[in-house]
């Protein structure tokens, strides 16, 4: 698979319908947007109209939730065709989805389900990423998910598994800072081990989000502001990886745009403290043109 590493876009937000008007009527300090691919697999109306307006003004990346790359069910070619159609419209900087599975036997559980970290699963995922990349004609970006259980049969750590997928399948990684924090708490590993365990040259995007603490475990709900511990880990990630396109991900209990933009400013200020002017992304410059 050919193609340079995608550019550093700066500081973006997940596009949510509640914010369409405020974004298009104003000039919020947002460098780029991530859109949920499945939300635009529709025939017409407001969703596609708004998508087109956003794409005219901002760099956009696509983020899917149902590729089900690790599923043992056959690849869903109708879904991939729909994904490719949205991509032709958006011309995204990259297309991401999750390193997980979402169902078998024609069922979609609408959840990001965990994978055992085995050689068998690794070979399976690498083979499927190759097929998807060939079909899309571009590299895929895969995100580590939050998980609540570990499998007895796992033969390696999550970061070893993620890294091997990226190397063998030649794909990019979306480093979800919050998901690593959540999974590290749930499974008792060190976030630093994960941070230093993945190849730096593969990471093209950060997700930063909030979660729900249930004392014995953390659930990745994306319905709260980002907590201090996740901000601390974000600072470490920026220090380690350098400038990486950063995004605040809020999926539920969605606050007014200004509140999410304030969180984005916080991410920007952390990156600025660590990186200086290197934290000013290309996306900001493109959006301003």
């Amino acid at each position: 698979m050919t193609g340079d590493k995608p550019p550093f876009l700066g500081f973006g937000l997940g596009l949510r319908p509640q914010h369409y008007r405020e974004i298009l009527d104003g000039t919020p300090a947002i460098d780029w947007f991530e859109v949920i691919s499945e939300n635009y697999m529709v025939e017409g109306g407001q969703p596609l109209h708004m998508l087109d307006r956003i794409c005219e003004r901002y760099p956009v990346v696509m983020h899917g939730v149902s590729l089900s790359i690790a599923s043992t069910a056959p690849l869903d070619m109708d879904y991939l065709a729909a994904l490719k159609k949205v991509a032709a419209r958006v011309e995204p900087k990259w297309i991401s989805d999750h390193l997980c599975w979402t169902g078998v036997h024609g069922v979609n559980l609408h959840d990001l389900l965990p994978v055992p970290y085995t050689e068998e699963a690794l070979n399976h995922v690498v083979d499927r990423v190759g097929q998807v990349q060939d079909f899309l004609g571009r590299r895929l970006t895969l995100e580590n998910v939050s998980s609540y259980v570990t499998f007895g049969q796992s033969e390696m750590t999550e970061w070893e598994f993620v890294s091997e997928v990226a190397r063998r399948a030649d794909c990019w990684l979306l480093f979800d800072v919050n998901n690593i924090y959540v999974s590290a708490f749930n499974h008792g590993f060190s976030t630093d081990d994960f941070l230093h365990g993945v190849p730096r040259d593969r990471v093209v995007q950060f997700h930063v989000a909030g979660h729900s603490h249930e004392e014995s475990h953390i659930i990745d709900t994306h319905d709260h502001p980002v907590c201090d511990e996740v901000w601390d880990f974000y600072r470490e990630a920026v220090t380690h990886f350098g400038p990486v396109s950063t995004m605040i991900e809020r999926d539920d209990n969605i606050p007014p745009l200004a509140e999410v933009v304030a969180e984005l400013d916080h991410a920007r200020s952390i990156a600025r403290e660590v990186l200086g002017d290197r934290a000013l992304g290309q996306g900001r410059l493109q959006a301003a043109e």
């Binding site: 407001q46 979609n108 499998f151 007895g152 049969q153 475990h217």
Partner: protein
């Protein structure tokens, strides 16, 4: 060791059917038992789909209240595992499910309310088409009018309600107390479509509903006028038909029109 396929099948049965066999494949954490940790997936599955249904069927939810809606949603989720990649389509069988549900057999307004919400959602992100403009019609010479056939907007759908579900929807939308459900003396035709970016619906009188139904079958305007005359009397029939047509154009319910050529006159030289 289970293969990846077997493991995923077992995991899915654990979520969908409450089968605990999968617990042998996962571990306790330092802080929590595996039953609780796997329970996060079980709970999330039902909770997420119930939330999707509550968003898609907002007025049914408001009408039934939290508890009754939750019971109905749980029954739907159990009977309809999602087979779609996008959650947008998960609730598409909900109106039919409610209609066939024993509890709601005697409350047909609930299934009709659901059908209206589904039709509005389908219109909202249905196919695009430029609406037919009044200027386009006005520019046509009078002699072609009898030969005009119309194309409904691709989002337009006609529903027929036996109850006052449309009134109930309107009251709920305004966050006022809904009227008592009742069976109407005559079925009520409703047309649902998208104008600009807004999904809308209108109630049609029996005469307008008849004309809409025929127009959607590409019956030409001259014949539509005759049908209107037959339906409720010749007096002012053309005016009534023209006024329904104007209403459709003003509200963007039509996407176009074309002239159906009159049948060619037989060539008399060929006749014996």
């Amino acid at each position: 060791m289970k293969s990846l396929r077997e493991l995923q099948e077992s995991f899915q049965r654990g979520i969908l059917a409450g089968d605990d066999a999968v617990l042998a494949e996962v571990k306790d954490s330092d802080k929590e038992k595996r039953e609780v940790l796997f329970g996060v997936y079980r709970n999330a599955y039902v909770a997420r789909l119930a939330e999707i249904l509550a968003e898609d069927y907002e007025q049914v939810h408001a009408y039934l209240g939290d508890d009754r809606f939750a019971r109905l949603a749980t029954a739907y989720i159990a009977a309809n595992p999602s087979d779609q990649r996008s959650a947008r389509w998960f609730g598409r069988h909900f109106p039919a499910f409610v209609e066939q549900n024993e509890t709601y057999a005697k409350r047909p307004e609930v299934a009709e309310l659901a059908a209206l919400e589904k039709a509005l959602a389908d219109a909202f992100d249905g196919p695009n088409a430029e609406p037919l403009r009044i200027e386009e019609l006005a520019a046509l010479p009078p002699e072609v009018w009898p030969w005009l056939v119309f194309q409904p907007h691709p989002t337009a759908r006609r529903l027929t309600f036996a109850t006052n579900a449309a009134d109930i929807w309107c009251a709920l939308k305004e966050e006022t107390a809904p009227p008592k459900p009742k069976t109407l003396p005559e079925p009520q035709a409703v047309v649902v479509w998208r104008q600009d970016f807004m999904a809308r619906f209108r109630l049609l009188s029996p005469e307008e509903a008849m004309m809409w139904g025929e127009a959607a079958k590409e019956v030409r305007f001259g014949v539509l006028c005759e049908m209107v005359a037959t339906f409720a009397g010749e007096d002012g029939a053309e005016l009534r038909a023209a006024s329904y047509l104007k209403g459709w154009v003003d509200t963007g319910t039509l996407a176009g029109c074309r002239t159906e050529p009159p049948p060619a006159r037989p060539d008399r030289s060929q006749l014996r």
